[in-house]
């Protein structure tokens, strides 16, 4: 049997409203002393009641609209009941049979294909986040656990896709684009490592010929873009192997173990929770009027798709560059800031996609916290243009800038890289270059101006960029005349 991979995703994004979803507590909880960012409402103390933060609704509508969903003008909250110490009320206020957004889609472009894939969005709904447990020792064997409720009540939007992905790569591409969209919408910072964006996946194999569906396995704890691809690939391989061996696939929930690169069984279908959903009696039905939807639609910020096209048109950069530069909001912002200060947009995109991203990844630094600001990068590029440093030297200067945060000119000065002022010495180098490149000299004499640039570049190369370019320019022209 030839199998086809079938994957669906469930993504939770933390909405960046100022206050939590049902109380006045701040959403800025990371790094705070445990249980200090709480109140009777988010602690679920007896007698407390939830009141919806209207901003949460606005953010969720914005997300739904951007994902081309139909908005249910009346939706409602349900209680999802289960016992766990990170859930102080023992139920999560969520949405069930009438979610806020339904029947949306998002298009993704696949590598090595000009065709777009339409991924259907089943639903977008609003719910509250739970707290966090800290286990003494290991989760499987722990003598006690501590609960931190600071995260309780952080607003979440859950985005559920149809099982439209045919490979782990597609799922990853979707996630990257989704992250960029929610960043551009200003509703979520999309930080998977810190948990502001979290992903669960459903995966099964179906018979490619007959279309007969396979048994579905749910994978949890996939919390980086790399992990998504790895975990899904592991699961595809595991299921294929089982089928090849004539084994059956069990319907179950599996946990991705990031340290061992495997998925492990968490619970079987029989152990699955009965959440006993019922309408939340403490909250009124959620009403969204058409005016609000239209207003949000009208004032939707520029989305990555549109921005990408604008980059191609306005900055004349290749589609590939534009795709990468708009893959995160902060990266696009960085580029736009830089391009407003520097006219060679392609040189800029090369430096950003190359050196900058490489250094950021290596040092695990967010672009917003980059020691090399757009201004500093442009400053360095200008030194290069002025011939003060060569392209090769620039890489060293960039690295030093990244490490020290200093501006390029200061690094150049401190490293003792100054221009050669001895004209005789320069003329010697010019002569040497002309001797070695008689073909270029000939080209120049035949009117090829480009050859001159090449010769200047060669001199720069020998001097490691320390020559004054206009002097070299004139010197070469004069020496050639003499020859």
């Amino acid at each position: 049997m030839k199998e086809e991979v079938v994957i669906g995703l469930e993504i939770h994004i933390q909405l960046m409203t100022k206050a939590k979803i049902f109380c006045q507590c701040s959403t800025d909880y990371i790094g705070k002393e445990p249980n200090t960012n709480t109140c009777p409402v988010c602690l679920g103390l007896p007698g407390s009641l939830p009141v919806l933060n209207k901003k949460v609704l606005e953010f969720a509508v914005r997300t739904s609209v951007a994902l081309n969903c139909k908005i249910n003008q009346v939706s409602r909250f349900h209680r999802k009941n289960y016992f766990y110490p990170d859930l102080p009320k023992a139920y999560q206020i969520s949405q069930y049979d009438t979610p806020l957004g339904i029947n949306g889609y998002m298009e993704i472009s696949l590598p090595e294909s000009t065709e777009k894939r339409k991924i259907r969005i089943t639903r977008v709904h609003i719910e509250e986040d739970a707290g966090k447990l800290v286990h003494e020792g290991d989760i499987t064997f722990s003598s006690y656990s501590l609960a931190d409720y600071n995260r309780c009540g952080i607003p979440l939007a859950e985005i559920v896709t149809e099982p439209d992905f045919r490979s782990p790569e597609e799922a990853q591409i979707f996630l990257v684009k989704l992250r960029s969209i929610v960043q551009h919408l200003g509703v979520c910072d999309g930080n998977m490592e810190e948990g502001s964006m979290r992903c669960d996946a459903n995966i099964s194999l179906r018979d490619a010929k007959t279309g007969a569906l396979g048994i579905k396995v749910e994978i949890k704890n996939v919390n980086s873009f790399k992990a998504v691809k790895k975990a899904l690939q592991f699961e595809v391989d595991r299921q294929k192997k089982l089928l090849a061996e004539g084994e059956k696939i069990m319907q179950e929930t599996r946990h991705w173990d990031e340290s061992k690169f495997i998925t492990v069984s968490m619970r079987s279908k029989e152990e699955a929770h009965d959440y006993r959903y019922f309408p939340e009696p403490d909250l009124l039905p959620l009403k969204v009027d058409l005016k609000m939807i239209n207003n949000i639609r009208k004032n939707l910020p520029e989305l990555p798709e549109v921005r990408r096209k604008r980059f191609i048109k306005d900055y004349q950069i290749p589609e590939y560059d534009a795709e990468i530069l708009t893959s995160s909001k902060a990266l696009g912002d960085y580029y736009e800031k830089a391009v407003s200060l520097y006219s060679n947009s392609k040189v800029l995109s090369n430096w950003i996609m190359g050196e900058l991203i490489r250094h950021l990844n290596e040092e695990k630094v967010e672009i917003k916290a980059s020691p090399v600001s757009p201004e500093k990068l442009v400053g360095m590029l200008k030194l290069m243009d002025e011939g003060i440093i060569s392209g090769k030297m620039a890489k060293d200067v960039f690295e030093k800038m990244f490490k020290t945060g200093k501006v390029a000119s200061q690094i150049v000065k401190e490293s003792g890289i100054t221009q050669i002022t001895d004209e005789n010495e320069l003329i010697k180098i010019v002569d040497k270059v002309l001797n070695e490149n008689s073909k270029s000299v000939e080209d120049f004499n035949q009117g090829k101006e480009k050859a001159l640039n090449f010769l200047v570049g060669q001199v720069m190369h020998y001097t490691k960029g320390r020559a004054k370019p206009d002097f070299i320019f004139e010197a070469i022209k004069q020496r050639i005349k003499k020859i």
Partner: protein, 496 residues
């Protein structure tokens, strides 16, 4: 006569006129509590020191000629299911023993602003589940009219405290009759407001779509006085309604000529005590004498109220009470081997049997595969019951029924048989399902000197009308108002 025997409005007026001091009032209140509460057992907690301090503050205000708020110097007892900042709030349950809320319920803040003095917390059926106050983890409360009998429930501590002159006013909560039935059995006035009239913030939830806080008082004027204070929209409760609150004291003043009264025939069938029935008949004649028109009306879905209530209320309760898991506060089992055994032992040991029965019933009603047949169907029937009332109110201004089919029954008489106990609320349950307001007030006594209650039901947010009808009846009732005579008794039974 001692000052504690007065009504709240009398006390406020006398303090304002400098005839008495708030401090004297409190002394008489606490003297009475010292004298009778060992026999009644209405209170779980008494806060004497704070009350006396507040009384002195009011007396200073009087001395300085400051204007006094509407409940200045009025002792108020609070059912122990309403959160009081810094004071233990147990809901009559072992599982919340030691729980001290860090915040006040909205009604507590409102009462305090109005100058009321909170004197303590009253006994109740555990988590308001019961009709006799026998389901308290801290022992039963006794009816001041006959210490061998129950005060009703679940707000039995509140109604007994008012009846025994241990307080002027008490707050109760009513999910299926828990204010009105004990008010009836203790001869007091009890009002369950329209759902959404009074904020539920700080009321520990039993069944969120049915719960309301309301007053238990000695007369209708006091009831209106307290309703003026506790009613109104609250930003902390999404289900509280943003509607202007009329002056209920003023609304009492008008007459009831031409008021159209419907008497639902379904409320006068088997199970009703003949003495209750005849007291009702006599009361209806008084209404007619006052110019009201009394007619029979039908509420055809009445018979489904009990099963509907016990599906919806228990379903919500199973979720509301899930938070008592021993993790954050309250009782936790001492020995357990893992998380699930901690949950199981904590909840098995911490809850009483009636609470466990209702949690199981509600869990079942919400379970996958049963939801449609039980919870969903109950919601549909609830709509039908509501429509019965809408229809009746298109023709009538108010409806009048007995509050309870019987007078106060004996302790232990019904506790062994849940269904018999559930039937005592048969006249009050439909009102909560419909969300409409209803008041219970005394209309007479049986041959054993036990009070009989009358229930007046109104349209949504028509507390004005039911208070007016109740006030007119109270002023013109031909049965003289009595007070119970309490013979201090030492009770054998200890807390379970």
């Amino acid at each position: 006569m001692t000052l504690n025997q007065l009504t709240a409005h009398e006390v406020v007026n006398l303090i304002k006129k400098k005839k008495i001091t708030a401090h004297e009032v409190m002394q008489d209140i606490f003297n009475q509590i010292d004298k009778v509460d060992n026999s009644i057992k209405a209170f779980l907690i008494i806060d004497r020191e704070e009350a006396l301090k507040q009384a002195k503050e009011i007396d200073v205000k009087v001395k300085n000629g400051e204007e006094l708020p509407s409940l200045a110097g009025v002792a108020v007892a609070i059912k122990d299911i309403i959160a009081t900042q810094g004071t233990e709030t147990t809901c009559g349950s072992k599982i919340l023993k030691g729980f001290i809320p860090p915040y006040n319920a909205t009604v507590i803040n409102k009462l305090k602003e109005a100058g009321a003095i909170i004197i303590g917390k009253t006994n109740m059926d555990e988590f308001a589940m019961g009709s006799s106050t026998e389901n308290s983890a801290f022992g039963p409360t006794h009816n001041p009219w006959d210490l061998e009998r129950v005060p009703g429930g679940s707000s039995g501590g509140s109604s007994a405290a008012v009846a025994a002159d241990e307080t002027f006013v008490a707050l109760g909560t009513d999910t299926g009759g828990s204010i009105r039935q004990p008010a009836s059995l203790c001869g007091m006035v009890g009002l369950k407001p329209t759902y959404g009239r009074v904020s539920r913030y700080g009321l520990v939830a039993y069944a969120s779509s049915l719960d309301q806080i309301g007053p238990i008082t000695k007369d209708v004027t006091d009831c209106a006085l307290v309703m003026n204070v506790i009613s109104g929209h609250d930003n902390m409760d999404s289900t509280s309604v943003n509607l202007e609150v009329p002056d209920y004291l003023k609304s009492c003043q008008a007459g009831i000529k031409d008021l159209k009264i419907g008497v639902p025939k379904e409320y006068f069938i088997e199970g009703i005590d003949p003495e209750v029935k005849s007291a009702l008949d006599r009361a209806l004649k008084i209404f007619e004498k006052l110019g009201a028109r009394v007619e029979e009306v039908s509420l055809p879905h009445t018979k489904y109220s009990l099963p509907t209530y016990y599906l919806i209320a228990t379903a919500e309760a199973s979720s509301n009470l899930a938070r008592y898991d021993g993790v954050q506060y309250g009782y936790r089992a001492e020995e357990y081997k893992d998380l699930s055994s901690m949950y199981q032992k904590t909840r098995s040991e911490g809850f009483g049997s009636e609470v466990k029965r209702r949690i199981m019933l509600g869990t079942y009603a919400l379970s996958s595969g049963y939801y449609d047949a039980y919870y969903l169907k109950a919601q549909k029937v609830r709509t039908l019951i509501k429509e019965d009332f809408d229809k009746a109110f298109s023709k009538y201004d108010i409806l009048i029924t007995p509050t309870s089919p019987t007078t106060a029954f004996k302790l232990k008489e019904k506790i062994a048989d849940s269904l018999t106990m559930y039937l005592t609320d048969i006249y009050t349950l439909p009102i909560n399902l419909a969300g409409v307001p209803a008041i219970s007030l005394n209309c007479g006594y049986n041959k054993n000197n036990l009070p009989i209650g009358l229930q007046i039901i109104g349209k949504h947010f028509s507390e004005e009308t039911i208070l007016r009808a109740a006030f007119n009846f109270e002023q013109n009732n031909d049965v003289e108002k009595r007070k119970p005579s309490i013979k201090p008794t030492k009770h054998k039974e200890a807390a379970e």
